[in-house]
Amino acid sequence: MSCPKTEHILQEYFADDLAPLASEEIERHLAQCPICSAELNALLQTRDALAGWQDSQVPHWDRGMELFRREHQAPRTENSWFSSWQWLPTGASLAMLCVLLLNTSVTVSGSSVSIEFGDSDNADISANLADFQQQQQQELQSIIARFEERQDNNNIQLLQAVVAQTQQATADNLDRIYTYFEEQRQQDMETMRVSYQQLVDSDYATIQSLQDLAQFVSFQSNVQ
C-alpha cells in the first residue's frame, strides 16, 4: 500500500518554516492517512537516533603550536620552565633511592652474606620520607605561585592585544573578557594542581614501597 502524497507531505513536514495553511493541510492529511503517519514516525525515529551522537574525544595533537611559534618566532620558554619542573618529583624519587642505596652495607663473613640498610632504623627512613613529602608540598606551592604569576601575565598580554586591535572596546566588554580569561585560568590552575598532586602522591607511594622492600630484605638477611 502506498499514498501518492507521502513524498510531498513529508518533504514539506521537514521544511524550516511552513505557511499556517500548508501546515494545517499537512496535519490534516497525517491525521487521516495511516501510511504517511507511519512513515513520518519512522523518519522521526531515525532522525532522533542520529541526534544521539555523543562527541568523541579528540586524539592528541599539537594544535599547530609548533607552526605558530616558528612563524611568530616566539621562544618555547613560555611553557618550558614548567616542562622541566614536571620531572622534579621523579628526580627526587631517584635521589631518595640513591640515599637508600648509599646507606646499604654488605658484609661477607664466611659463607653468609649480611645486608644492612644504613645504620639505621626505620625511624630515620620514616623521618626522611616525611621531610621529602613536606619538601614536595612546598615545591608544589611554589610552582603554583609561579604558574599563577605567568597566567596573570598572559591575561594582561591578551587584554593589551585586544585593546590594541579593537580601539572601540568598552570597559564592559573588557570586564567580560577578563572574567572569561580568569575562569580559564582557574580551570588550568586546578587541572595543574590535581595532576601535580597525583604525581607527588604516586612518587611518595613508590618510595614507601622501596622502604618496605628494604625492610623486608634487611629482615631476611638478619634472619640468615
Binding site: T46, L50, S56, P59, M65, E78, L158, V162, T166, Y180
Partner: protein
C-alpha cells in the same frame, strides 16, 4: 556599543603573536570540527587530517576574518569546503573518480577505544552505529544530514553553502532520511 566576543578577543591576541590565545582558540573548536569530520569522513584518521587542514586554513587566513559573520560560521564553512576537497581527493585516489558511493573505511574507528570505561564504550558503540549508517549515504546526502541535523542549519543556508536550490536541499535531505531509515530497518542498528 560594540560587542567583542571571546573568539574575537582570542583572534586579536593570536594575530598579535600570542601562542596562548591561539591554543585557546583551537581548544574551543577542535572537538566540534573533529566530530564533524568523523561523521563526514567516517574514520578517525581522515577526521584528524581534515581537522588539521581546517586549523591550518584558519591560521593562514586569520587576518582576513573581519567579524562580519560569527567565527563559528566562518570555521564551519572552511571545514565544509575542506571536507568536500578531501572527499574528492580520496575518491580520485581510490577509484580514479568513478564511484560516488564509496563508503569510508570504518575499520579503525571502533577499535581505538579498547581501554575506555563502559559508559565511554557505549557512547562509542552508538557513534559507531550512526557512522555505519551515515557511510551508506553518498557524500552529498551525508553533507546535507550533517548540516541539517548536527549543525542545525536552515535549508536556505544549506542551499547557499552548497550552491543548490532550497528545493534540491529539501529533497536531498528527505531522500537521505528515507535511505537511513531503510538501512536502520535492514540492519536493526538503531533502537
Amino acid at each position: 556599543m560594540s560587542f567583542i566576543d571571546e573568539d574575537e578577543a582570542l583572534i586579536a591576541a593570536a594575530l598579535n603573536g600570542s601562542a596562548f590565545a591561539w591554543e585557546k582558540l583551537v581548544k574551543r573548536y577542535e572537538s566540534k570540527i573533529y566530530n564533524h569530520g568523523l561523521r563526514l569522513m567516517g574514520n578517525s584518521s581522515d577526521a584528524m587530517d581534515l581537522m588539521q587542514e581546517v586549523f591550518l586554513g584558519v591560521y593562514r587566513n586569520l587576518h582576513r576574518f573581519r567579524g562580519d559573520a560569527k567565527f563559528s560560521s566562518w570555521i564551519f564553512r572552511i571545514a565544509h569546503n575542506k571536507a568536500v576537497d578531501l572527499n574528492r581527493r580520496k575518491r580520485i585516489l581510490a577509484t580514479g573518480g568513478s564511484s560516488d558511493d564509496e563508503g569510508p573505511d570504518l575499520d579503525r574507528y571502533p577499535d581505538e577505544h579498547g581501554d575506555e570505561p563502559e559508559s565511554r564504550m557505549q557512547e562509542q558503540q552508538q557513534n559507531g552505529q550512526i557512522l555505519s549508517m551515515l557511510t551508506q549515504l553518498p557524500f552529498d546526502q551525508r553533507l546535507i544530514v550533517e548540516l541539517k541535523i548536527y549543525q542545525s542549519q536552515t535549508f536556505e543556508e544549506i542551499a547557499e553553502m552548497q550552491d543548490i536550490s532550497v528545493n534540491t536541499a529539501k529533497t536531498r535531505f528527505y531522500t537521505a532520511l528515507r535511505k537511513l531509515k531503510t538501512v536502520s530497518e535492514e540492519t536493526h542498528v538503531l533502537p
